[in-house]
Symmetry: C2
Subunit: 191 residues, 2 copies
């Protein structure tokens, strides 16, 4: 029978999916809490998104600097996979697949080292749903992670196999969206 | 016919509702983008939640300090309504209603002054769904707000009247939650 302490510290596998807004945004919001606890937080961007999450990145860099300078909060490491490559311009799935594999190999290395206490695998569902990685190997690796390592995976179309093994799954569902009315995204809100 | 610039700058009324996680968390994630644009961000906590969002608050304080010290990002103002009062202990709805009114009066004052460019009205749906404020007056005030003021309202049970006038509505829906298995919340993840 596990103690209260053990229950409280059970590391989580969290999935944010659905066709609505807020999947990544809520993951980055969750990262604020992990940072505030003094945890190491790792962000792994698996898909080049519209504006590369410039706002979140500036905020996270600022929080990481506050940790370095004043010891407040924890460390933050931000990895943009395939940066410098022609990710979005390439229509060659082999390239995207090898970048995805490279990114996942980095995550696996860090999990083995117990580098972080929170991993944000941003848009990783996209990679999984495209079949660019072996889903069984991914789930096996996540399931065998040691220590106190929490993982949050975002993106549409989370595979059922992932949902089955996750601890917490939330679907962000679109009720109404201004783009439906032909409005455009704006700095400060969408990026 | 509005120009592209005008379209891009149309201020948004955003609602995060549903029974899942991530409603407030995504709002605080959105605040990172607004802060990064140099906007004034105002947080108005309408309901005393479990741990008072201590992690988000520390992160926001750190970002606000970075703005003051180094000019990066924007200002952040954080208002915890009813702080010092016995909000949760009180079962007297009149007290909660008067605190809600006090909080809303503060938001109205700031909207009239165009104090912020993003308003996070955290758990305001709770206040509205309880009927503690006049929903028609709230909607009228929000609809007549001037300038470039974006508002995001979080909480379960968003009233239909609010959804009808909102620009962007997302429902965070629970697919799976560890508390269902009897697990407890933990620092760094839930607060």
């Amino acid at each position: 029978m596990s103690s209260t302490r053990e229950k409280r510290h059970k590391p989580r596998l969290i999935v944010h999916t659905g066709d609505g807004k807020g999947k990544s945004t809520a993951a980055f919001g969750m990262g604020l809490r992990s940072w505030a606890q003094g945890w190491n937080v790792g962000v792994y961007q698996f898909v080049k998104s519209g504006k590369w999450k410039v706002g979140e990145k500036l905020a996270y860099e600022t929080l990481a600097k506050a940790h370095e300078d004043n010891g407040v909060g924890g460390s933050i490491f931000w990895y943009t996979l395939g940066e410098g490559f022609t990710w979005l311009r390439s229509n060659d799935h082999t390239d995207q697949q090898s970048l995805a594999q490279e990114g996942w190999d980095l995550v696996k290395k860090h999990l083995a080292e117990e580098k972080n206490r929170l991993y944000i695998l941003d848009e990783f569902n996209h990679v999984l749903s495209r079949g660019w990685l072996d889903i069984d190997e991914v789930i096996d690796t996540l399931g065998r992670r040691t220590g106190n390592q929490n993982v949050v995976i975002t993106g549409r179309k989370a595979p059922k196999k992932l949902i089955d093994v996750a601890d917490l799954v939330t679907s962000m569902d679109k009720i109404k969206h201004p783009f439906d009315k032909g409005e455009r995204g704006q700095a400060g809100i969408e990026w």
